[in-house]
Amino acid sequence: MDITEVPTNQHGKCKKKKKAKNKSDSKEGSGEGSGVEKMEDSVAASSFPPTFSVSEIKNKQRRHLMFMKLKQEKRKQKLQLKKKKKKERKALGDKAPPKEVPKTIENQRVYDETTVNPEDEEVAFDEGTDEFSAYFNGLTNPKVLITTSDRPRGRTVKFCEQLATVIPNAHVYYRRGLALKKIIPQCIARNFTYLMVINQDRQLANGMVLCHLPDGPTAHFKMSSVRLRKEMKRRGKDPTEHSPEVILNNFTTRLGHTIGRLFAALFPQDPQFIGRQVATFHNQRDFIFFRFHRYIFKNEKKVGIQEMGPRFTLKLRSLQKGTFDSKFGEYEWVLKRHEMDACRRKFQL
């Protein structure tokens, strides 16, 4: 019975001495019989480094105390290391080695072999003759039809109206429960180039189907973080009728190129710089962020921007070749979460 009697101050005193800890823990944690074995073990194991960890203490409060102390110690050591490095750096002055670049997920991105090389002829030909070639050669002007899923509610309706002001030559139509496959031939007959369907779930817009019309690819996106104009801070006036400039950031792979062109073809080819409006599609880690700003140059180097217009985030779920046909269409790319999202540093767009 005296084996279990250990005064509590002992823990506070000999926290550094691991061997002593071992013995005290073994005495507290296990019964009498095994206590003897553990003593022997600790003696026999003294030649190897003791593999004691804080998690072996059974008492929660003591364990918590020990863990806090461990963390504080680690933090102290880290600070000391930093101070030392800073001192060395100062001492060296100009000859100091350059600062190390911190690792970020974008830095560590796994090299994607489908990244487009600008001088590649085959890819250039492929892009030059794909479904968007009519737009990029200046033969067609974009005309967008925006609609929603059936029976849309307040937020989605407002979002569609705001989108229609942002995209020039866009028309909003109420979806009266019509099938998309029947709408598409009629749109083609009326010279529409895009069909955009905003899907709604529980009064929130959560999906977008973007179909390029004559025979073009259909992209299905998951939409999140939708903010309407009234929720924008320091908003300013509503957008004017001028065509905005378009910025597409960071679409590097072949799939990214296709999606980038899909977005670019929504807007007319000649932006009106008088309007000073710009729409940005920024791709980061496979999420596409849409922002709409008005800018003004204060002098040659300073620009002031004011965000107006809706903002939303998209994530590509599938890209289908041909117009909308989810049953029999052929998919060029499908998001397979368990295969593609397994690696944190690999991105598709």
Binding site: E113, T114, D120, E122, V123, F125, D126, T129, R254, K321, K327, F328, G329, E330, Y331, E332, W333, V334, K336, E339, M340
Partner: protein, 392 residues
């Protein structure tokens, strides 16, 4: 050009009109193009060997021309027009005895051409909307066609009046409604008369013309998306199917159960082919990659990025790893043996724990392992030494 084309073991046709040859062992891809500038109406729709010795490739394009590509020289030697573009694209190309060419277009016109004349010798109408035509590997005269609302028909080219076998649609379903029917791809099962087809309604059917039953003998289903490509393994008991979502599955033909799935594809499968001697299957599709999977353990062995969407695929009969063997051959083997002898002598003897399953096999590995097996039994240690970087 000639030496590039001679080492290629996989040939692919793309939508941009470029014929691509891939040497799997060297991990290199080569483009072969007919004209200096590319155009979309040269899109490759059909590929087949020009002769049984596999020295010539026949490439069928969208505008109705068939080009001959010589593997030895590495250039396109001939280009002839075998049909009008109004007929639709080629859905099947086949050669009989190396001199006659059988072509089938989407409108259903099946034509047999001889080398000398520009008019077809025989012309058969196989119905409308034909999706695929395939030739039987055993009887060169038998071809099978199938399409949308156009059931499987087996034709004998010497009797062009009517099909030898017409398949009947499935029985009406439980609501007494007619079942829709869309055959996408078919294959002849070796050692028997049977034909296996896959449909856009995610069904796989096996038909037996020797029995009086015209309905499918075996019915199997996989997935929820249209099955676009089909290939039989060399032994004929398993079939590999691919669908528009990029899911490839192995189905057992005895009971119709799914044996396993091959992962990796992100886009729709356009063509699949199993190798004749080795248990590998090559797949290509809309995501612009050629993938080679091993059939035994369903792992990905090779993945090659080819920059255009791929339409058709052809595996050459010789081994995939042949290129490196022929090129380096004896030198490498001798050098490696010497290295290994030193290594083995230096190491201590360890008892073999048991047979280890080999994940990736190469010809060189197999040969050397056979030699080593007689000498020592250190397979486990050997595997760690032998690990060559595989690109996945």
């Amino acid at each position: 050009m000639g030496d590039q084309s001679r080492i290629c073991s996989v040939w692919l046709g793309s939508e941009t009109g470029i014929l691509k040859g891939v040497s799997v062992s060297r991990k290199q891809a080569f483009n072969f193009c007919n004209t200096s500038h590319l155009s979309r109406d040269q899109e490759v729709r059909g590929l087949c060997w020009g002769d049984p010795a596999e020295s010539e490739l026949l490439v069928g394009c969208v505008d109705g021309t068939v080009k001959t590509f010589s593997v030895e020289k590495g250039v396109f030697t001939d280009c002839r027009r075998y049909g009008e573009p109004a007929d639709g694209c080629f859905t099947g190309l086949a050669t009989v005895d190396g001199s006659t060419l059988v072509t089938c277009a989407e409108s259903g016109t099946l034509r047999v051409w001889r080398e000398d004349s520009t008019e077809p010798v025989t012309e058969i109408n196989a119905g409308k909307n034909v999706c695929r035509m395939r030739q039987s590997p055993v009887h060169g005269n038998k071809v099978a066609t199938g399409g949308k609302e156009n059931g499987l028909k087996i034709w004998d080219l010497e009797k062009p009046e009517g099909p030898v076998f017409t398949a009947k649609n499935l029985r009406d379903d439980w609501l007494d409604l007619r079942r829709p029917h869309w055959v996408r791809d078919m294959a002849f099962i070796p050692d028997s008369d049977k034909v296996v087809t896959c449909t856009s309604y995610h069904q796989v059917h096996v038909f037996d013309p020797s029995t009086p039953q015209r309905r499918p003998v075996l019915e199997a289903e996989y997935g929820e998306y249209p099955l676009t490509a089909l290939s039989l393994t060399a032994d004929g008991s398993t079939v590999v199917v691919g669908n528009t979502h990029g899911q490839i599955a192995l189905l057992d033909l005895r009971k119709g159960l799914v044996r396993g799935c091959l992962k990796g594809l992100a886009g729709g499968v356009r063509a699949l082919q199993c190798h004749t001697s080795r248990p590998v299957v090559a797949s290509c599709g809309l995501d612009r990659f050629l993938r080679i999977h091993s059939l035994e353990d369903r792992t990905l062995q090779h993945k090659v990025y080819l920059k255009s969407r791929l339409n058709c695929l052809l595996l050459s009969g010789r081994d995939l790893e042949d290129g490196a063997e022929a090129a380096d051959g004896a030198n490498q083997e001798v050098k490696e043996e010497e290295e290994e002898d030193e290594v083995w002598d230096a190491m201590e003897q360890v008892q073999e724990k048991g047979k280890q399953k080999r994940k990736t096999t190469t010809q060189e590995e197999e040969e050397e392992e056979e030699e080593e097996e007689e000498e020592t039994q250190k397979k486990s240690k050997k595997k760690k030494k032998r690990k060559r970087p595989r690109d996945i």
